[in-house]
C-alpha cells in the first residue's frame, strides 16, 4: 500500500515535470499521459473505481488524443530546433508558481485537519448510476447541454472563416 503510493506519486511528479520541460510537443503529451494514467491508478488505490476508469477513458483516451490532433494540425517545427522554450518573463512565472506551491504546502502542513481514517468506500458503480439518474439528474442534464454546446462551438471556431457562411 505504502510502496504503491510512493511509486505512483513519483510517476505523477516525474511525468508532470517532464511534460513541462521537454522540447518536443508530442513527447510532452506522452509524459502527460503517464501522469494522467498514474492519477487513475491513484484513484483506484483510493477506492474510487468509477472515477479511475472515467479518468482513463476521458483523459488518457480522449483529451490526450485531442491534444495530439491539435499538434498535428499546427506546424510546430520551429520548436524542434534551437530556440527558447520559455517566454522572456519565465522567471516571474516560475517564481509565482513556486511561491503559490510553497504557501499551499506550508498551510497544508500547518493545518489541523483531523487525520481521519479512510473509510471503506461504499460507492459501487450501481450506486453512482442510481444517484446520477435520481438526485443528480439536473446537473447531469446541464453537463450534457454544456458538452453539446462546447462541441458545436469547437467545430464552429475551428472551421475556416470562408466556410462559415
Amino acid at each position: 500500500m505504502q510502496a504503491a503510493f510512493f511509486i505512483i506519486a513519483a510517476l505523477i511528479v516525474i511525468g508532470g515535470l517532464a511534460a513541462m520541460l521537454v522540447r518536443k510537443l508530442v513527447h510532452a503529451v506522452l509524459w502527460l499521459m503517464v501522469t494522467l494514467a498514474s492519477l487513475a491508478a491513484l484513484f483506484l488505490l483510493l477506492g474510487a473505481q468509477f472515477v479511475g476508469f472515467a479518468q482513463i477513458l476521458v483523459y488518457v483516451g480522449a483529451v490526450a488524443i485531442l491534444i495530439v490532433f491539435a499538434i498535428l494540425l499546427t506546424r510546430n517545427s520551429e520548436w524542434a530546433k534551437a530556440g527558447r522554450l520559455a517566454s522572456p518573463s519565465w522567471l516571474v512565472g516560475v517564481g509565482i508558481a513556486g511561491l503559490a506551491t510553497g504557501c499551499l504546502i506550508a498551510s497544508i502542513l500547518a493545518s489541523s485537519i483531523p487525520p481521519g481514517v479512510p473509510v471503506p468506500p461504499a460507492a459501487s458503480v450501481a450506486d453512482i448510476g442510481q444517484k446520477l439518474m435520481t438526485e443528480y439528474v439536473l446537473p447531469l442534464e446541464a453537463v450534457g447541454l454544456l458538452l453539446t454546446a462546447a462541441m458545436i462551438g469547437a467545430v464552429i471556431i475551428a472551421m475556416p472563416e470562408d466556410k462559415r457562411g
Binding site: 513541462m20 501522469t35 474510487a48 499546427t74 512565472g93 458538452l147 469547437a154
Partner: protein, 103 residues
Amino acid sequence: MIPLKAYLVLSALLFGIGLAGALSRRNAIMVLIGIELMLNAANLNFIAFWRFHPGTEPLAGVMFVLFSIAIAAGEAAVGLALIIAIYRHYKTTNLDRMDSLKG
C-alpha cells in the same frame, strides 16, 4: 497507512508544476497541458477528501470529480479549437507573437 496530508501535498506539487508550465512556456498547446495538470490536481484533492472525510452525502466527492472531468473535457475541446483558429490567423502557436492587442 498514508495520511491525508500526503495526498494534499502531492496535489499541491502537481498544481505547482502545471502553474509553472502554464505561466512560463511560450507554446499555446503547452499552456493548455499545464492547465490540464492543474485541473487534475484539483480532482485528486476531491477524491482524497472524499475518502478520508465522507460527509453526510457519501457520493458527493465522486460526483464532483465526474462533473469536473466532463467540464475539463469540454474546456480542452474549445481551447484546442481556439488554438487552431489562432494558428490559422497568425501561422504560429507562439504566444509571444500574439500581440495585436498590445498597447
